[in-house]
């Protein structure tokens, strides 16, 4: 009788695949309408739209990684504290010295790699539920970090600040970086065996296994990518804030927000379905929401209320027609 779940009337237009694009369009429309309505047409320039995109670079980079974790039917709550840790690590190692930029980057990525590996091992070998595993990891990282630093530590040399502040005209390097990262992620998911293995493991672990896929390795790989992205987000924030502090990850709520944008982007928590472009749409939607709130001068508290509702509404937007029983 499971056929029912499998059997689905053939539809030329697969709504759930287009939902993210639709949501994005709606958000854009709202932005334009509000701008016109409040007579702030100066916000409708291309430059400004680009700067809107620039709002959530860190979230974007993190979300790219989170997409991998969720696609493989896992999840990563440790990104926020990893971001903090990396930002501090980099700015402490660099400590204003241009010569140390590369070593610092190397160290940051190394840290990301280790954290991802450990997350993956805990989840696959100890079979700990990913939510708990990464939540625990998050506490551990945050703890270790705050044990050493309690404030901005070290500093980032101007050479490295270029990453966040430099650019071609209004098109910042960081935005380009995010774009490239997204393309790279898309490439991995679409054009490499690892990519299709991720969909397989996320979609049906047993089927993947009998097809000869080493499912544990795939899960671990996804978590390594996820943590590497978080590390890069940490690097970006260090460059943008010119120094690292142990709270910048949690202040940005990058853990929950990255999950939110991925899900809004149409990647399902159950795994095996979704993709990077949906996530990007989700990120842009978040930026637009922020800008819209600023345009409309919504006060901070109302903002929160609306954000919460929007997140749920956006997910419901396509979840509502799924036959799945969710819990």
């Amino acid at each position: 009788m499971t056929d029912l779940i499998a059997t689905r009337p053939k539809l030329a237009f697969r709504f759930d695949r287009w939902a993210p694009a639709l949501l994005l369009a709606i958000a854009l429309l709202a932005y334009v309408v509000i701008a016109l309505y409040t007579g702030q047409t100066q916000y409708l320039t291309v430059d400004n739209l680009i700067s809107v995109l620039g709002r959530s670079i860190a979230l974007g980079i993190t979300a790219v990684g989170q997409t991998f974790a969720i696609l493989v039917a896992s999840i990563d709550l440790s990104v926020a504290s990893l971001i903090s840790a990396v930002s501090v690590l980099t700015s402490v190692i660099m400590n204003g010295n241009p010569a140390m930029v590369l070593p610092a980057i190397a160290a940051a990525l190394a840290l990301g790699l280790v954290v991802g590996l450990v997350n993956g091992l805990i989840i696959t070998r100890l079979e700990v539920n990913p939510l708990i595993a990464t939540l625990g990891m998050s506490l551990i990282i945050q703890g270790c970090l705050s044990a050493f630093v309690s404030n901005f530590a070290g500093s980032v040399p101007p050479e490295f600040q270029v990453f966040a502040y430099g650019g071609f005209g209004s098109l910042s390097y960081s935005l380009i970086f995010l774009a490239l990262l997204a393309v790279a992620a898309w490439f991995v998911l679409r054009h490499t065996r690892f990519g299709s293995d991720i969909y397989a493991v996320g979609g049906n672990k047993d089927a993947a296994r009998v097809a000869g896929i080493k499912t544990a390795r795939v899960t671990i790989g996804a978590h390594i990518l996820c943590s590497l992205c978080a590390a890069m987000a940490g690097l970006y924030l260090a460059s943008r804030l010119r120094s690292g502090a142990p709270w910048i990850g949690s202040d940005g709520v990058y853990d929950l927000e990255s999950i939110a944008v991925v899900v809004i982007g149409g990647t399902i928590l159950a795994g095996g379905r979704g993709g990077i472009w949906g996530t990007m749409a989700g990120v842009i939607i978040f930026s637009l929401i922020d800008s819209i709130f600023n345009l409309a001068g919504v006060d901070a508290f109302a903002k929160q209320v609306l954000r919460g509702i929007i997140i749920v509404a956006a997910v419901a937007f396509y979840a509502v027609r799924s036959k799945r029983l969710v819990a």
Binding site: A133, G136, A300, K303, Q304, G308, I309, V326, A327
Partner: protein
């Protein structure tokens, strides 16, 4: 089917139930604490401990309902905040307001649980996202309502449940009202989960919703009730926290994760099907005992976080291994 004439099968050994490890851990921790600080063995010592642990214990017991039903409830922390802030505004220093204020808060709680449930059941939004959204929204609501900072005081009547100790009792000397509340609510939640049809059906829908549905279980109704119970327990926890500590705008922050941690320490199985109210309460006490111990050891906050993280992972890892061997 009485006219069936099938021979009677009579081999049925009772398998002795294994005791949940959390109880041993808790006992060990208590011993350690007493060794560290004999004063803890004094009534004031352990009573204060229980008094502080009570809100989390109730919260964990409530969270367990959602976990066993197969979901998560991240909104409980924000419910706590809303309750404290809201009560302080509504009661504006009028002692007689206490009862209707408390009633209102439970009504609000029920409403929140209902919405969570409806969103999950009918909008098909995974509970993780649904309750995350609810968390963000309610925090916002609490802020909008109060304008960002508490607008009034909590009356002494309201704070009775969380603050007052009944003193001059024989042998235990003092008895915190909070402890009485914990015992009463704890038993109620135990009874509902482990002695009623609802409890068994919550287990069933967490275990296999499709099967439950085909067996005639009103899956949605049961799931919604689980969310409502969780929210109501959050209201109770909020009333006790506000009572214990007074008003502030960030009372609830972080409690959702602590509650889940406690439930997991109590051996609750994430994604549903298995869990015990007493064990979840023990889990909450264990968590508090750990913090108290680290306090006495004079360990700084960071170390506490690390320890909490390690314990969380270890607890689940161990549970998984046991499950693999015993098959449970």
């Amino acid at each position: 089917m009485t006219e069936q004439t099938l021979p009677h099968a009579d081999r049925r050994k009772r398998q002795l139930p294994q005791i949940n490890p959390v109880y041993f851990v808790l006992a060990a921790l208590i011993v350690a604490i007493v060794v560290m600080n004999p004063a803890f063995a004094e009534p004031t010592g352990y009573m204060n401990f229980l008094k502080r642990a009570a809100p989390l214990a109730i919260l964990a017991a409530g969270q367990l309902y959602v976990i066993v039903s197969g979901g998560f409830d991240l909104s409980v922390g924000s419910v706590i905040t809303l309750v404290v802030v809201g009560s302080s505004i509504l009661s504006n220093n009028d002692p007689n307001s206490t009862w209707w204020v408390i009633a209102t808060m439970f009504a609000i709680g029920a409403g929140v649980g209902l919405i969570n449930g409806l969103v999950v059941c009918y909008l098909k939004v995974p509970s993780l996202i649904a309750t995350l959204g609810m968390m963000i929204t309610l925090n916002g609501v609490a802020f909008m309502w109060s304008g960002g900072s508490p607008r009034g005081y909590l009356t002494d009547q309201f704070r009775f449940f969380g603050r007052v100790n009944i003193s001059d009792l024989p042998l235990i000397r003092i008895l915190p009202v909070a402890l009485i509340v914990l015992i009463v609510l704890g038993f109620a939640l135990y009874w509902l989960m482990h002695r009623t049809n609802l409890g068994r059906m919550i287990h069933a829908i967490g275990d296999n919703p499709r099967a439950a549905n085909l067996a005639g279980v009103p899956v949605n109704r049961v799931r919604i009730l689980a969310f409502i119970v969780s929210s109501l327990s959050a209201v109770a926890a909020g009333i006790m926290l506000g009572g214990f500590a007074g008003v502030s705008t960030d009372v609830g922050t972080g409690y959702e994760l602590q509650a889940i941690t406690a439930a997991v320490l109590g051996g609750a199985q994430l994604l549903g099907g298995r869990g015990s109210v007493p064990a979840a309460i023990a889990g909450a006490l264990t968590l508090n005992a750990i913090f108290t111990l680290l306090n006495f050891l004079g360990l700084p906050q960071p170390i506490r976080q690390v320890v909490q993280g390690l314990i969380l992972i270890a607890a689940v890892a161990v549970a998984m291994q046991r499950r693999k061997h015993t098959g449970r």
